[in-house]
Every structure is written in structure tokens, then in C-alpha cells.
Assembly symmetry: C2
Homo-oligomer: 249 residues x 2
């Protein structure tokens, strides 16, 4: 039983709606890159599994040249790794890798908060407040899916308010790497953590209203740090419980 890419019948369904940080609209290579990235991020290939060029070429209906170019880029982004003469594999993130990623994300959001204090408008703050209340509703309903959705939009709003396109693109890239793990591991933060998170979010809003950069920076970092703990903990459980990954078995 060799690990294989699930046959979806149709090629990759996504109409290239990913983050438009670096899309090369017209080129085939650019299109492929977006689709492949989404495909990997969404966890369609198991951790550590090989990414056979031939198969992907058929799947995408292209030749190997543009595909290989896309693979090189994905490797540079850290989503896959290229073993010399042994093809591409989906990068299996160790626990340590995840810790590092979360910390970098924390740093980037912390920075975003700092910068946001310089430029954010009252209307933007109001919008985040509305999201916050919306999220609170989902919290009360124990609606995990929508809670996450809105939670993510809040964090994205803060990053957007930083008015720094470079930061936004970097943040999106790292978010993708983590999102992959989230998909695979079917993350579900313990409900208990939700309460803390809600309180932290209130503190974030408070600091934002007062436009206190250092304080907001600290709170955001700590907030993400707490997320990190929950996520790593959960992942450890999942990896222990679940079957060994495609890479090892």
C-alpha cells in the first residue's frame, strides 16, 4: 500500500482563489503554483508522502517543466522539501517546527498590532469590535467552525490595519504552513481555552482602542503563545493516537 494522491476525478477543483500576494496571473506556472499550494495546504497529500511529478502532471494536464518550477517555489516557502534525486515530499513538521512557526507568527502579529496603533481608524476598530461580538455569539453557541472563522478574520483585520503589504504577505505565507497542519490534525481547541481566548481578545481590543503599541504588542504575543501551547498539546495527542503517518508506514 503505497501512499498516493487521492484521485479527485477532476483536476484540483479550486479556481485559484488563494492569497494574491504573488500571483502571476497570466502564466501557466503561476496558475499551477497557486493551485498546488492550495492543494498542499488543504492537506490533500498526507504528511511526508511523496509528490510524484508524473502523477501531478497528469492531474494538472501540464508538462513537467512548469510543475517543477512550482515545486521549487513551494520548497522555498517551506511547504514541501526536495530530496536530491529523490523527488518532493510534503514537509512533515516536527513538534519543534510547529513551536517555531507559532512563535514567528506571534512575532508577526505582535508587530502588526504595534504598527496598527499608528494607523488604524476608528471605523476599523469598530469593525473589529463587531467581529468580536459575532465571535462571542459563536462562543456561546459552541459553534467551533464559525468561531474559528471569525477569529481568523479578527487577526487578519489587525494585520491589515498595520498597512504593511510585506508583513501581510509574510504573515499569509506562515499562516498557510500552519493551516496545513490544522487541516491534517483536525484541530479543535478545548472549549476551556475558548474562555481565556475571549478574555484575551477583549484585552486586545482595549489596547487597540487606546492605541497603546507596546502593550498591544505584548498582549498579542502572549495570546499567540497560549494558542501555541494548546495547538502543540493537541497535535501531540493526535499524533500519538492516530495511525503512523504515510511517511513511516
Amino acid at each position: 500500500m503505497k501512499p498516493t494522491i487521492p484521485e479527485t476525478g477532476m483536476p484540483i477543483a479550486r479556481p485559484a482563489t488563494g492569497n494574491d500576494a504573488d500571483r502571476q496571473e497570466t502564466s501557466l506556472h503561476g496558475e499551477i503554483l497557486l493551485r498546488l499550494r492550495d492543494y498542499v495546504v488543504e492537506g490533500n497529500i498526507p504528511d511526508g508522502a511523496r509528490v510524484p511529478e508524473r502523477q501531478l502532471c497528469e492531474m494538472l494536464g501540464i508538462s513537467r517543466t512548469p510543475l517543477r518550477e512550482a515545486l521549487k517555489v513551494l520548497a522555498a516557502e517551506g511547504l514541501i522539501e526536495l530530496l536530491p534525486n529523490r523527488g518532493a515530499r510534503v514537509r512533515q513538521l516536527s513538534e519543534r517546527d510547529l513551536e517555531e512557526l507559532f512563535d514567528v507568527m506571534a512575532g508577526l502579529e505582535s508587530l502588526a498590532g504595534r504598527l496598527a496603533c499608528e494607523a488604524i481608524t476608528d471605523e476599523e476598530i469598530a469593525a473589529i469590535e463587531r467581529l468580536h461580538y459575532k465571535m462571542y455569539g459563536h462562543y456561546l453557541n459552541s459553534d467551533m467552525h464559525n468561531y474559528f472563522q471569525v477569529n481568523q478574520r479578527i487577526h487578519e483585520s489587525i494585520v491589515a490595519a498595520a498597512r504593511n503589504e510585506t508583513l501581510r504577505a509574510t504573515y499569509a505565507s506562515f499562516a498557510g504552513r500552519i493551516r496545513r497542519v490544522r487541516y491534517s490534525a483536525n484541530f479543535a481547541r478545548k472549549r476551556q481555552r475558548w474562555g481565556e481566548a475571549m478574555r484575551e481578545h477583549e484585552a486586545i481590543l482595549d489596547a487597540l482602542r487606546r492605541r497603546a503599541p507596546s502593550e498591544l504588542s505584548d498582549i498579542l504575543f502572549q495570546h499567540l503563545r497560549n494558542k501555541r501551547s494548546a495547538a502543540i498539546e493537541h497535535l501531540a495527542t493526535v499524533r500519538d493516537t492516530n495511525a503512523p503517518t504515510a511517511a513511516t508506514g
Copy 2:
């Protein structure tokens, strides 16, 4: 007079000593990538100039396939940009781009400081202190080149002390983008700024010794922010004074 790559006779001289974040030792593509990156970072191609594939192929003695793969990666890193059907150009950074880059660097270093407080050893702090005194010597001698050199090593030491390989690689990548501008613009901070910078460094060391994460984070951010002002200011002068770039004329 069209902008052209200086003929060095020999291929690119550098023995691939760049950051080993993502080196693919054995593959031709990986080797090419390292050499090309250094070549671009060191400013051997003027801002906005075309990067002709053919010419580079001859220069490197390879075919277009691995070269194009490397170009795609460099584009993803933000060093060059790929115009559809019109080849690769060295990315001309606007003033705003630079501001953004400096701010992200500031955020990363600020994060590094925060993390360093958790793990840095007394010996590492002592090493940074030694660098600091060494830098002070260069400051007194107005030895700009060595001052910069040591200054950079101090910042790298802080990043290293964060014990986060992901952060280190990201930091190195952004540093490369800025370094390119530095090479081209022949950066020289005003001597007046040096004094402030020295004082800021002392504050950094102080916070580091006390392992005060929030404080260190703040100081580092502000320090980099001040650097940013000086750099942007200088660049504006240079760009005004100098001839129009290769891109526009």
C-alpha cells in the same frame, strides 16, 4: 547604452557561501540559486535592469531549465520580479517598500529579543558584550566599515540566541533584500546617528542582562525604527542626486 550585466570573465566568483537556510547541496539548481542570489544581493545588476536568461546561462555554463527554476525562487523571495513574457527584472524597491522591509525586520528582531530572554546563556551575553566594546572601538576610530560589520554580528547574535531556526532563516532572507539596497546605495549612516545607536545598544544589552522580554522587544523595535529613518532619508538623497536608474533611463 543599454543596461547590461558586467562581464566578469569568470562566472560568478563566489564559492556559494551564502546562508545555508535552504541549500540543496547536490543539485545544480541549488548551486545556481545560491550563486544567483548572492550575485543579485551584491548589486551586480542595477535596479530594475533586465536579467537576461541567455546571458546568465552562458555566464553560468548551464541550460535555461535550472536557471529559470532559480529565477522563480528568487521572485518568490522578492529579490526579482517576473513580468509575463517579458522576463525577469531586478526588483526596484520603492521608498515605501523599504519602509515596510525595515519595519518587518524590526518586528523580527524585536521577536528575537523576546525569545532570546528565555534561552540566552550568560556566556552568550558576555560574547555580545565583547562585540559591543569592539564596536565602540570602531566608533571612536570612525571606522565605518568595521563598525557595520560588528554591528551586524551583534544583531545576528541576538537572533541566534532566540533558538528559532525558522526565525533565523526568515530574518536572513529579509536581511538579504535590504542588503542589496545597501550595496547599491552605498549606505553610510551619518556619524551623528552613531552616538544614538551606541546608546541604544547599551540599553539593549542592559535589558538582555536583566532578561526583560517586553522591554527588550520595545527597545529593539525602536532601535530598528531609528535605523529605518536614517536609511530611508539617506536613500532619498542618493536617489535624487544620482543619475536616474537603469529602469527609467
